[in-house]
Amino acid sequence: MSARARELFGLLPVSLLVAAGFAAVLATRTEDVSDATLTYGAVFLGLCVLAHLFIRARLPEADPYMFPLAALLAAVGLVLIYRIDAELAREQAQWFVVGLIFFCGTILLIRDHHVLERYRYLIAAASIALLVLPRLPGIGAQVNGAFLAIKLGPIQFQPAEFAKLGIIVFLASYLRETGDILVRPRLRPLPGTSQLLLYGVPAALTLLAILVFDLGAAGSVLLIVFVASLVAVLRERPSPKHFGPLLLVWGLAMLMLIVIRDLGSSLMFFGGFLALLYVATGRLSLIGVGATMFFGGSFFLARNVSHVQERVDIWLDPFKPAVVDDEGYQIAQSLFAQADGGLFGRGFGEALIEFGGTPIIPAAHTDLIYAVLVNEAGLFGAAGVIGAYLLFAFRGFKTAMLANDGFSKLLATGLTAVLALQVFVIVGGVTRVIPLTGVTMPFVSYGGSSIVANMVLLALLLIVSDHARAEGIRRGGLV
C-alpha cells in the first residue's frame, strides 16, 4: 500500500470519531437538533480529504501518519469545543480552514526547506520581535497575568505560537553550523593530582554550599547537577564559543520569563533549545549546565516575580482556603473535573462546564480543554489523545532520523520536540505536574494562532519528510 493510501485510510477513524462525537453531543441536546450541526462534521472531513489530495500532489512521499493524527486531534478538539459552545466551534472550524490554507501555502512556497537557512537571522529577529509584541502598549493584552496575546482590532493573536517556529528554524540552522565546534574528541585522563583538584574542590565547595545555605532537596540536586556538568564542560578547556549560544538562549529564556511572564512558554522554548543542543552535540554535560541554569533562574524568578511566584504557590497547594475560590480556582476545578470523569468519562456533552453564569471549568475551550476531555472521555479517552501525540512525536522523530543532512534532522527534531513539549506543558499544568500556564493544546484547543501555527509546523515536517523519503527511495533503500 502506498504512503498516500495509508494516509487516506488513516482518515477513516477520524471520520468515525467526528460522526460519533457530534452525534453524542447532539443526543444530549435534544432541544436544538439541527442539520447544520452535522454538516460541520461532513465539511471537516471534506477539508481533510482535500488536504490529503494536495499532499498527494505536492509531497507524494511524505510521512503518511502525521496528517491523519493531526486531523484526529483537531476532530477531538472540534467536538469538545462544539460541546462547550457551538458558536466557538464554528469559529474554530473557520480557523481550521485558514490553517489549511496556510498549510498548503507553506508547502507551495517552501519547496525546499533549506532555503530557510538563508534567512535565519531575519527569522530569529522576527521571532524575538513577535515575542516582545504583547508587551507593547496599545496592542498588548495581559491574560491571567501573562503577556501572551496581542489585540489588533477584533482579532486576538498569540505571537508566541509563531515565534516558536521561527526560533526552531533559527536554532536548527545555527546549531548545524556551530554544533561541530561543540563536539570535541574525548580527552586523555588527567594526572591524579589535577583530577583531585578538578573534582575534589568543586565537590567540597558544593557540599559546603548545601550545608551553609541549607538548600532543600530540589536545590541540592540542582546545584550538584550544575557543578558536575560545569566541571565536565570546563575540563575540555572550552572557548567562549562553547558558551556563547548557551548563555544567549538562556538569557533569552529568562528575559522571556520576565517579559511575557509565562513559565510555560519559557519552558517550551528553552526545552526545545536543549533538545536541539543535545541532538547536535550529543553532550549531556552541556544540557546539565543549561537545564540547571534554567531551573535555577526559574526558582530565583519564582521568588522574586510576584506573578510567577503566585503560580508556583497555587501549584503547590491549590486547595488552600485563601486561594481555592480565587487564583487556585482554575486548577482546583480542573482536578475536580478530572475526578468526575473517572475511568470512562461521563460521555460527550455530559460534563458540567458552567452553571448559572459561573464557570465550573474556567477557560474550558483553551487552557483546561484537557480537563474537559478527561471529564467526558475519561482516563481512557485522555490516554488515547496522549497516545496520538506520542505517535505524532514518534513520526516526527522518525522523520528526523530518516533525513540526510544536519539541518533537516535538527529542524524535524526541533519542530517535533517543541510541539511535544507544548503538550507536556499544558497537560502537565492541567494535571498539576507543573504549574499551570496558558499555552494551548496543539490542534485541540480553541485558538486561531494555535491552529494556524501548528498547521505550518505540520507542513514543515511533511516537507522535510518528503525530501528524506524521496531521497531514500532514490537510493533504493526501504522506507
Binding site: F336, A339, A382, A393
Partner: protein, 482 residues
C-alpha cells in the same frame, strides 16, 4: 545524531507516561478524595437541578423544607426554602450551593437527592424516569417544638424530647436559632454572631449537668446492688469528700435518710458517699452504657455532635483519677468534671423510662418516594441494655417522688404522672450564674416521652425546679396531650 534523537523520543515517551500517570491519579486513584473535597461543589450543583425531597414533621403534613424553582442562565434549578423559619433550623439545617449543607439536610442528603444504587439507576434509565429526590418524614413534633421554644422564651438553652420505646426524637430545640432562609445572604453574619445561633446546643455544647447526674449515679448504685431505694444513708452536712468538706444545697443537714428521700431532696452528701462506694470504674461503666464518651448514635452529621463525659482541666476525656464523690453529684474538679450535652441527658431519662433499654435516637421516621411508596422505614434499634428492668422500675418510682413532693414539683401535670430530676449547676468564674436542668419522663406507668431541658447562664438563685421543670411540663403536655 540518530542515537540522540532516539533518546529524546524515549524522554518524551517518559514525560507523556507521567502525564497519563497523573491523569490516572486525579481521575481514578484520588477521585473519591476530590469528590469529597468541600470546595468541590459539582455534586451540589447537579443535585440542584433535580427536585430535592421535602422534609416533613412527624404528622407528614407540616413542611419543614421545600423547593422553589428558579431559572438561572438556561437551566431550571431548585432553591431550598424553609417555611418555618428558624424554628427547625437545628434539626433540619439547610442546603445551598454556596454554603453547603448542615444537619438532616446533610445526613439525609443521599435520600433527599434520590441517590440510587447502580442497579436501580439502570432501571430508572430504562424507564426514562427523571431522577428525583425522596421525601424525609421526621419524628419532630410541631406542638412540642412550639412549646419548647415558647418555654425557653429567648433564653439560651436546649430542649430534647425522645420517645423512649423507639428512640424517636420528638423535640430538638436549641436557642438561639438562625433562619436558614437567610444563610445564602447573611451566612457570614450568622456564623460570626457571638451568640452562636448556628451552634446546636442540644448536641454540640456540653454543660455541667448538676444534680440530674445523680440519676446516673443512682443507676450505677442500684443496678450494681450497692444500695436499694430503702437503704439508709447519713445525709448530714458538711461531710468530708476526697479530703474537702462538701455541703448540701443551702447547708441543710438531713441526718440518716433513705436513698429515695435523698434523691427526692437531692442530697449531695448522700450521693457523694454512694459515688465513693461504687467507685470510678463502676460509674464510668454505667456512663458508657448510657452512651457517654461517644457521639450520640443519631442520624445527624458527626461534626455537629460531641460526646459527653468526664473532662479534665486540659479538656481531655478521663476515665480515672477524678474526684468520684463530686462527679457523682454532677460536679468535679481539676482532674475531671462531668460535662454533658442535653441530648445525652435526654437519653439517660429515655433509657430509664424504657425499662433500662437505651434505643438509638432517630430524627427520621421514614423515607418516602414521590409516588407515595415508602422507600425505608427506620426501625427502633436497641443501643444497649443499660440496667436491669427492676432497677429502671425502682428509679422510676424514686423520680416520681421528686415531682410529687421534692425539688421538681413544678413539673407536675394534672392527669399525667411525671417522673423527673432537677439539677442546678453553679457556673461562671465566681459561681455568679446557675445552669438549671430538668430531666423527666411521662406518664410513669407507660412512658411515652423523655425530656431534658437546660437553660444557660441564669441569675444566681435560679433553680432547675423553677426554671427548667415548667418547660419540661409544657413540652410533655404539648406532645402527649395533643
Amino acid at each position: 545524531m540518530n542515537a540522540q534523537i532516539r533518546q529524546l523520543y524515549g524522554l518524551f515517551a517518559l514525560l507523556f507516561a507521567v502525564l497519563v500517570g497523573f491523569t490516572s491519579y486525579w481521575a481514578v486513584v484520588d477521585a473519591e478524595g476530590l469528590e469529597d473535597n468541600p470546595d468541590n461543589r459539582r455534586a451540589l450543583i447537579e443535585e440542584q437541578t433535580i427536585p430535592r425531597g421535602l422534609i416533613y414533621a412527624r404528622d407528614g403534613r407540616t413542611v419543614l423544607a421545600r423547593n422553589r424553582a428558579v431559572r438561572r442562565g438556561g437551566t431550571r434549578i431548585f432553591v431550598r426554602e424553609y417555611p418555618r423559619g428558624g424554628q427547625f433550623s437545628h434539626p433540619v439545617g439547610y442546603s445551598f450551593i454556596r454554603n453547603g449543607q448542615r444537619s438532616l439536610e446533610l445526613s439525609r442528603n443521599d435520600d433527599l437527592v434520590g441517590e440510587e444504587d447502580e442497579f436501580q439507576s439502570i432501571l430508572s434509565g430504562l424507564e426514562d424516569r427523571a431522577r428525583e429526590g425522596k421525601d424525609v418524614i421526621t419524628n419532630l413534633d410541631v406542638g412540642g417544638t412550639d412549646a419548647a421554644v415558647a418555654g425557653l422564651a429567648g433564653r439560651k438553652g436546649s430542649v430534647v424530647a425522645i420517645e423512649p420505646q423507639t428512640g424517636k426524637v420528638r423535640v430538638m430545640v436549641s436557642v438561639p436559632e438562625y433562619d436558614p432562609n437567610l444563610i445564602p445572604s447573611n451566612s457570614r453574619q450568622i456564623f460570626s454572631d457571638p451568640n452562636q445561633p448556628d451552634l446546636n446546643r442540644s448536641t454540640q455544647e456540653r454543660y455541667a449537668p448538676g444534680s440530674t447526674f445523680k440519676v446516673v449515679t443512682a443507676t450505677a448504685a442500684l443496678d450494681s446492688g450497692k444500695v436499694s431505694p430503702e437503704s439508709i444513708i447519713d445525709g448530714s452536712s458538711p461531710k468530708e469528700i476526697s479530703g474537702v468538706p462538701l455541703e448540701n444545697s443551702g447547708g441543710q443537714s438531713f441526718g440518716a435518710i433513705s436513698f429515695t428521700d435523698a434523691l427526692t431532696n437531692s442530697v449531695n452528701t448522700v450521693f457523694a458517699q454512694v459515688g465513693e462506694d461504687i467507685g470510678r470504674g463502676t460509674l464510668v461503666e454505667y456512663m458508657r452504657r448510657f452512651g457517654f464518651y461517644e457521639d450520640p448514635e443519631l442520624d445527624y452529621p458527626g461534626e455537629q455532635m460531641v460526646p459527653s463525659g468526664i473532662i479534665n482541666a486540659d479538656g481531655d476525656f478521663v476515665e480515672d483519677g477524678f474526684d468520684v464523690g463530686r462527679v457523682a453529684i454532677g460536679q468535679g474538679g481539676e482532674e475531671g468534671q462531668i460535662q454533658t450535652t442535653p441530648m445525652q441527658m435526654a437519653l439517660v431519662a429515655s433509657a430509664i423510662a424504657n425499662d433500662g433499654r437505651l434505643m438509638r435516637p432517630r430524627l427520621t421516621d421514614s423515607i418516602v418516594r414521590k409516588d407515595g411508596r415508602v422507600a425505608e422505614r427506620i426501625q427502633p434499634d436497641l443501643q444497649s441494655q443499660v440496667m436491669k428492668p427492676e432497677t429502671a422500675e425502682q428509679l422510676a418510682g424514686m423520680m416520681s417522688r421528686v415531682v410529687e413532693e421534692g425539688t421538681g414539683t413544678a413539673a407536675a401535670l394534672s392527669g399525667i404522672q411525671v417522673a423527673g430530676k432537677t439539677g442546678t449547676a453553679e457556673v461562671g468564674s465566681a459561681a455568679q450564674f446557675t445552669q438549671p436542668w430538668f430531666i423527666a419522663f411521662a406518664p410513669v406507668e407507660d412512658p411515652q416521652l423523655a425530656v431534658a431541658v437546660t437553660v444557660e447562664q441564669q441569675p444566681s438563685g435560679s433553680q432547675g425546679g423553677t426554671v427548667a421543670a415548667p418547660i419540661a411540663a409544657d413540652v410533655i403536655e404539648a406532645v402527649l396531650g395533643g
